[in-house]
């Protein structure tokens, strides 16, 4: 591993933490290290807390959208979708998107919300939506385009789940608008924002034990 020169505090942090020994280098890159699990969990739980805020804030924020054009409120659903994409972009392991989104949903459900057990169903399907996109690229590509696609995948999964479980018997225009809004919201909020967040996090050196962090750190 190429050491990063000691320019400033930030660079120093990168060097000191990146030489922390990783237990084995012989294991497959698909195997979850302890640090992968713990950091994915921290991201999942932190996202879950944001979900809790959005559970309450989403109604006043997206209701005007709903009044403007029914179904458009799915745009705001993106704030429930970023956990999986963000976790996957940070730890880059199979199952990361599913794990992050599901854990965030568990936090959201444990605090108590109107969807009850079905919060976990949503977490599962939304996580799978993002997970499938990363799997399609064989967990090799973690770049901008794939992040956007994963966000869109999560958005599509959200639309399908919501329309089946919560809005059965809606008419065709509502279904179309809800699905498109869900996909666009997912791509922008869950995809774009997560990608930007990972770049920002990597620059602080907090991801120095991850490939996602080292790539950016070398570019600095």
């Amino acid at each position: 591993m190429k050491p990063v020169p000691f320019h400033n505090e930030r660079a120093r942090t990168v060097t000191t933490t990146s030489i922390t020994p990783t237990p084995s280098t012989t294991r497959s890159r698909f195997r979850w290290r302890v640090v992968d699990i713990v950091v994915a969990s921290v991201v999942g739980v932190a996202s879950g807390l944001l979900f809790v805020v959005w559970n309450i804030a989403s109604t006043p924020v997206t209701d005007p959208l709903k009044a403007l054009l029914p179904g458009l409120q799915a745009l705001g659903g993106g704030f429930w979708l970023f956990a999986g994409v963000l976790t996957a972009l940070i730890v880059r392991k199979p199952g990361a998107a599913l794990y992050g989104e599901l854990l965030a949903a568990v936090v959201s459900a444990l605090v108590g919300n109107q969807w009850g057990f079905l919060t976990l169903l949503s977490g599962l399907t939304q996580g799978l939506g993002a997970e499938l996109v990363f799997a399609l690229f064989l967990y090799l590509n973690w770049r901008f385009g794939v992040a956007i696609l994963a966000g869109a995948g999560a958005g599509l999964a959200m639309a399908i789940t919501d329309l089946t479980v919560w809005y059965p018997g809606s008419d065709a225009p509502f279904i179309t608008i809800y699905t498109i809004a869900g996909v666009v919201g997912g791509a922008l909020i869950a995809g774009l924002l997560s990608w930007l967040a990972v770049r920002g996090l990597a620059k602080t050196g907090a991801l120095s034990r991850f490939a996602a962090g080292r790539e950016i750190a070398q570019r600095v």
């Binding site: 979850w32 302890v34 999942g44 932190a46 444990l110 109107q114 969807w115």
Partner: protein, 254 residues
């Protein structure tokens, strides 16, 4: 989490199972009969849970607000049928959409209320013990998630320290939204750094090794846990039976 009521002493896995069975029954159909029957039975059973009244109303507030709002959406944009009462742009209030809206209102309450009562009384540590010992989910992941959940308690302190530090540096005085976003990002960085350290500490203590794991706290499945699951399943089954026998069953598929 502890409290006086019996609901606090039920195994979290049993609560999850009960909530799953009940929700699964209610979610398959949108009709007012199944939801009304389930809601009535729940209102009869919920007081037995022993959740303090104040806690109950505080924690279920979101459900009471969300249910009518969801119903209004359906009333305006649900599939129209029968007489149309009002129409503007895409919204169409009709006999059919009003019936769907009432069913939706009852359904959200019937799914949400028991879930809140069951979930807010779950202690995360008990849940993790149950998930890994009874359901045999991968323990590294369950315990990792629990470790992260335990960090939440530190977030509040961190948040205050960050606010004070920003104030001292003179960067906290303008732009409320910008400041909140910046501070939230700083909190995420801080917690990721702590997560890195925590992972090292856990590994140093042998977490994640292939050695046989033993448990400090045993998660047990007792008689009352069966009772919990049976109550959940019974309410769901009665609701479905009532809905089918009155011919109101209205499947969400197709």
């Amino acid at each position: 989490m502890s409290g006086p009521g019996v609901v606090y002493r039920v195994n979290p896995v049993a609560k999850l199972a009960a909530a799953l069975l009940l929700s699964a029954c209610l979610v398959l159909t949108v009709d007012w009969v199944s939801s009304a029957v389930a809601l009535t039975l729940e209102i009869a059973v919920l007081p037995l849970a022993g959740l303090p009244a104040r806690t109950f109303w505080l924690r279920t507030a979101a459900v009471w607000i969300a249910a009518p709002l969801t119903a209004v959406t359906i009333a305006l944009y649900g599939q129209p049928s029968g007489r149309v009462y009002a129409e503007f742009l895409f919204a169409r209030v009709s006999d059919g959409s009003i019936e769907l809206a009432i069913a939706t209102l009852l359904r959200v309450l019937a799914i949400g209320l028991p879930a809140v009562v069951l979930f807010v009384t779950i202690d995360p540590t008990d849940l993790a013990d149950g998930l890994s010992q009874l359901l045999h989910l991968p323990s590294r992941f369950v315990l990792g998630a629990l470790a992260a959940l335990r960090l939440v308690g530190l977030f509040a302190d961190d948040w205050r320290s960050l606010a004070l530090a920003r104030r001292a540096r003179g960067v906290a005085d303008s732009g409320r939204i910008r400041r909140l976003a910046g501070q939230a990002f700083a909190l995420l960085v801080l917690s990721l750094r702590r997560g890195n350290k925590l992972a090292t500490a856990m590994e140093a203590r042998g977490f994640g090794s292939s050695a046989h794991r033993t448990w400090a706290r045993q998660s047990r499945w007792r008689g009352r846990d069966w009772v919990m699951v049976v109550i959940g399943a019974a309410i769901g089954a009665v609701a479905v039976a009532a809905s089918v026998s009155t011919g109101q069953w209205n499947s969400i598929v197709g």
